[in-house]
Symmetry: none
């Protein structure tokens, strides 16, 4: 299938039906998404939902409550896009969903393909916060560019390539954890690629150059383990 993001989007799925949950999780994963699945409201951490996912897919009818309530609560603190799944779909239900601020509303039963089309539609129109500003540099992941005010006040603008962008993003997302070389290789290069061990360093070198002497120091190497993005 057609899909090529800079880094995989994180999708959260709240669905009590075991069979549908398994299927969706598997298929979304295959489509290149990073999926987390919960079966009930009790399991979820709303703080996490609001802040660490690019898309929430919420079933409305759950054993321990309504997905609408979850969505409403999330929406009060975050504008992460939400897709509701629902067994009924009266005009009232849909309106309620949209008024909560859902991006999409998909009645069951649906074809998987419909869901995927909508997921991509949503993510395409709702890019994640794509900018990082820090000291004298701004990284824009949407345009893959780095702007930096160069010592004597002039602005330089350079382009990140795809791998550099993915490495940087992964480091920032994982921060403050240390990201191992192996994980970088798996996530950025792919699980079946085994380039030499200097390869990762080279990307790091270039990133440090791009970010400049100040922000560049935020990428620190952790000997024997990997690299880490340190919050100032």
């Amino acid at each position: 299938m057609k899909n090529s993001a800079v880094t995989s989007s994180r999708v959260f799925l709240l669905e009590d039906d075991q069979s549908l949950g398994v299927t969706l999780t598997e298929r979304l994963h295959k489509e290149g998404f990073d999926v987390k699945w919960a079966r009930s409201i009790g399991e979820i951490n709303k703080q996490e939902l609001a802040n660490t996912f690019d898309l929430l897919i919420l079933d409305v009818g759950l054993p321990d409550g309504s997905g609408f309530e979850v969505g409403k609560e999330i929406r009060s603190t975050s504008d992460v896009p939400i897709i509701f799944l629902t067994a009924q779909s009266s005009a009232e239900d849909r309106l309620r969903g949209y008024e909560i601020g859902a991006e999409e509303f998909i009645p069951k039963p649906f074809h998987l393909r419909e869901l995927f089309l909508r997921v991509r539609h949503v993510l395409r129109n709702h890019p994640r916060s794509q900018k990082l500003t820090l000291a004298d540099v701004t990284v824009d992941f949407a345009s893959l560019s780095v702007e930096r005010s160069n010592g004597d006040g002039d602005l330089t603008k350079e382009k990140l390539n795809a791998k550099e962008a993915r490495v940087l993003r992964l480091l920032i997302e994982r921060s403050p954890s240390v990201v191992s070389r192996d994980e970088l290789l798996d996530r950025v290069w792919g699980v079946n690629e085994y380039p030499s061990n200097r390869t990762v360093d080279n990307v790091i070198v270039r990133l440090r150059q791009l970010l400049g002497p100040i922000a560049g120091q935020k990428i620190v190497s952790v000997r024997g383990i990997g690299y880490q993005w340190v919050q100032s």
Copy 2:
């Protein structure tokens, strides 16, 4: 109303039901849209639909044919956003609508408020530019023409074909984001079309030629990802 652009958005409505047609026309007008209403397929001018509206709302069940067919035809030459209205809404119907490239699919009966929420949602995410002027060229998307002052002062006028126009428009709308080849293929060629890899490039080549040496440079390729329209 949020959508207070310099000129109001032009909305086309295809709906055979007299009462619903009157209501929608009135209410959309009240919301600040410039509405044109047709009652049957026979009445419409597809060329006009494709290029001069910001949004099409098409009823699927019509006395003289299917709104799906109209949408499909339009979609082959334009990516104007489409909302389908339909009495039935099986999973198959919705999938069909989305595969045609519809932005939204609203089953009857619906609350007016639902429709308005969706209309605004679509227009917010899908701004349409009718003209582009830049350096020595002017692109008019309504007439699909490109005018350029040729080095020694004479004006050349050439025509864009439909695909060229759609690609250009998509790049500009998404700017400064990079638009992936996959998205271009999905949006311009269709979700079930997989032409060869060089196909997209060819359109880009031609666009660069049409736009000339100055404006042509605004289309930059981002290796491994896609293309990007760079501002200034």
